[in-house]
């Protein structure tokens, strides 16, 4: 089967390409990128006026399977991904049971193939049962297909075990992803500690708790020579610590979420549990530092930390609500609205952060538009105006801090392995 995408604005950050042209897809792979391609017998998609980008990659999602399917599963989560323009997602292991062995890694990969509609990559746990006591079978999981190792969902407070995990994982050429926030310091808090928490009377999670943990994780990476990836950076201190580490040549990468880039703790004045997330939404000075860090390359990637919860779990008093919310279906619109339409970032920079950069970190061959690469493509209308309505989400998590907001920019087509799986908001499989 041949598919010819004609006349789109092709943006391929991997090769610094931004041109009007065509892309030919055959048997799940890109076979040609060029201008005025004419192909007999190909289905033609007219992309005039649209942006043709390498498929978006979200390196940090929670699909909740196995065990927590009331919140999400592979089928619903990957459909949400497709609806949001993502062609690949990597899921975190904090499920029940924890994905801490090769059987579960293989099982999830298989579920991805049978139930999923986008490429599913699996991240294995660093410690057995996420208990921070002994290493999980990291090598076995990586050989079964795990793309990274992480105890995400919480802070790994056993520093010795983290050191061992970093050293051990580095043998297999994979990164350890850390959730860096000193829980002993932040644990009692529900929101960012600052002027807003002071007057709401809510216990705060101080930014310094993140700074301390990021510093520790980077120092260990530097000491061991291993690769560490800092998940969901949210504090200005952390940005500066990462910036300095990169200058020293430490093998550190980092990600930031769309919500930390665009929302502040002012939103918490509504006590709306849709804004409860961990790490918490911080004050404007932190948001500015995150944007600057993303711009100068200190922060490599944008990831959603998609963390859906059942409706009733969030429909409680703020302090009792779980942290996290759905992110896959709003990410691109939020980033384009907040970073592109405000003139802070170019489309190429955004596509780099949401596709090529995460592909590099996870060692994937996607994230690029060139002959021979997998035909994972997202076609975007950056000018498309729409209003977020959680009820229409494909994810089971019907909470979003962006509910009812007007966004500008949306994925119109998601192509995975050469097949159109989402068109105009509708997932076709």
């Amino acid at each position: 089967m041949k598919l010819l995408i004609k006349g789109g604005r092709i943006i391929n950050p991997a090769e610094n390409m931004d041109m009007l042209g065509d892309i030919l897809i055959e048997n799940g792979r890109i076979t040609a990128v060029g201008q005025n391609l004419a192909v007999q017998g190909a289905e033609v998609y007219d992309a005039a006026g649209l942006v043709v980008a390498p498929g978006l990659i979200d390196m940090h999602v929670h699909l909740r399977e196995p065990g927590l399917e009331a919140k999400e599963d592979v089928a619903s989560g990957t459909r949400a991904a497709a609806a949001g323009g993502f062609t690949t997602v990597a899921c975190m292991p904090n499920t029940k049971p924890v994905v801490d062995n090769s059987i579960l890694v293989s099982g999830l990969i298989q579920r991805g193939q049978t139930e999923g509609v986008v490429n599913l990559k699996v991240i294995g746990a660093l410690s057995k049962g996420l208990e921070a006591k002994e290493l999980a079978e990291i090598g076995d999981m990586i050989q079964a297909g795990a793309v990274a190792i992480s105890d995400d969902g919480g802070y790994l407070d056993n520093t010795r075990l983290l050191r061992t995990g970093l050293e051990y994982t580095s043998m297999f050429g994979r990164p350890v992803i850390t959730h860096s926030e000193d829980e002993g310091l932040a644990g009692e808090g529900f929101m960012h500690e600052g002027a807003v928490s002071a007057m709401l009377g809510m216990k705060g999670r101080p930014a310094v708790a993140e700074d301390i943990a990021v510093a520790r994780d980077i120092m260990l990476a530097e000491y061991t020579g291993a690769s560490v990836h800092i998940a969901h950076v949210s504090s200005k201190g952390a940005v500066e610590i990462i910036r300095q580490a990169k200058r020293r040549g430490v093998k550190v990468t980092a990600e930031v979420t769309p919500h930390h880039l665009t929302l502040t703790d002012d939103e918490l004045k509504s006590f709306n549990t849709a804004f409860k997330v961990n790490p918490p939404l911080r004050s404007a000075d932190h948001v500015e530092a995150l944007i600057a860090g993303l711009k100068d390359g200190t922060i490599d990637a944008i990831a959603t930390d998609h963390a859906p919860h059942a409706f009733e779990e969030k429909d409680v008093e703020f302090r009792y609500a779980p942290s996290g919310f759905a992110g896959l279906e709003t990410a691109l619109g939020v980033v384009l609205t907040g970073l592109y339409h405000t003139g802070k970032f170019t489309l190429s920079e955004i596509i780099d952060k949401m596709s090529y950069a995460p592909a590099k970190i996870l060692g994937l061959e996607s994230g690029v538009l060139k002959a021979g690469a997998p035909a994972d493509i997202t076609i975007i209308d950056p000018e498309y105006e729409w209003t977020v309505n959680c009820i229409n989400f494909y994810t089971r998590g019907k909470h979003s801090p962006f509910e009812s907001r007007n966004l500008k920019g949306k994925a119109l087509i998601t192509i995975v392995n050469g097949s159109i799986i989402m068109q105009n908001g509708e997932v076709l499989k």
Partner: protein, 318 residues
């Protein structure tokens, strides 16, 4: 200048952050009239006859709950108290379900106290009856804030321009937050003081002056509002000992003398006499602590009346 009519009819009373100066003044003016009823031989007024009020208390309270109960009863309403010893989540029933159950019984006002900040806002989002916040975690306690302002006005004749010192555990105090919002809006200069560990990080951005030495806050103060220290704070390691607290941060006669000679001494109660406040001054000439309790009743009567029956006030605004 334009003039607008202010009314609290059918409004939820969630905190003083969201209340206008005109609305607060309306309550204080109405409370003055309500206070006369408390001093009567026969206290029952038929004003709220046929109206029903539920006091839904998820935290223990004697003072506030009784005050709301009598306020409703003095005005002729039917008042029911529900005390829930543990949180709704611990019980297995969600707060939403509890509220909907109460609403289905046809109540007009839900007075709610709950340990979680924002729970009153949550309730107001869920149900149609008027919600009055009787304390939500460390967030706000608006009726305490109003009664404190009423008391200050009673003794000082005004609030604007006064130096008010709030001393003690600001971190965990909903009283402090309602006081800060209300007093700042009314034009007072608010000073807070206490151990750094009991002052919320970032509070300096709220428009108050922050001190660690209570002597600085007390200096030439017109009003001294001493907050209760909860002993479990010490167990959590937020200060070393009750003895040290009393010695360094306790308000006693010598320290009170730093304030103006006619300074008013207040405390929301219940007091730990000998800890945050010395026994001799607690019932001394400058103390308005007993009067605060009476004023609390008057303010709550005023609020119940205003949210159910209306009553207006001309607000002058720029």
């Amino acid at each position: 200048m334009n003039k607008a009519q202010v009314s609290l009819r059918k409004k939820d009373i969630l905190g003083l952050e969201t209340m206008s100066v005109g609305e607060m003044e309306l309550v204080l003016d109405t409370a003055k009239e309500m206070k006369n009823i408390i001093d009567r031989d026969i206290k029952k007024a038929p004003t709220l006859r046929g109206k029903s009020i539920i006091n839904l208390f998820f935290e223990n309270s004697t003072r506030t709950r009784t005050s709301f109960e009598l306020a409703g009863k003095y005005l002729g309403a039917d008042v029911v108290n529900i005390s829930v010893s543990s949180s709704s989540v611990a019980k297995g029933e969600s707060l939403r379900d509890t509220l909907l159950t109460v609403e289905a019984m046809g109540v007009d006002i839900i007075v709610m106290r709950h340990e979680a900040e924002g729970s009153a806002q949550f309730a107001a989002n869920v149900v149609k009856p008027v919600v009055i916040n009787a304390g939500d975690g460390a967030h706000e306690h608006p009726t305490q804030g109003l009664l404190d302002m009423f008391t200050i006005k009673q003794y000082k004749g005004k609030i604007a321009g006064l130096k008010v010192a709030i001393i003690g555990d600001i971190l965990h105090s909903r009283v402090a937050r309602s006081n800060i919002w209300g007093l700042l809006k009314m034009g007072a200069e608010v000073h807070i003081a206490g151990p750094q560990t009991l002052l919320p990080y970032g509070i300096d951005k709220a428009g108050v002056k922050v001190h660690n030495r209570i002597e600085e806050a007390l200096d030439q103060a017109d009003v001294v509002n001493v907050l209760r220290i909860q002993r479990e704070r010490q167990q959590k390691g937020l200060f070393p000992s009750a003895r040290e607290y009393a010695r360094i941060f306790g308000v006693n006669a010598k320290r009170l003398a730093l304030a103006k000679q006619d300074a008013l001494l207040m405390h929301p109660g219940p007091m730990n006499r000998g800890l945050e406040i010395a026994p001799d001054i607690a019932y001394g000439d400058q103390s308005a602590i007993q009067e605060q309790v009476k004023n609390g009743l008057a303010v709550r009567m005023a609020l119940l009346f205003l949210v159910l029956m209306g009553g207006t006030h001309i607000e002058t605004a720029n």
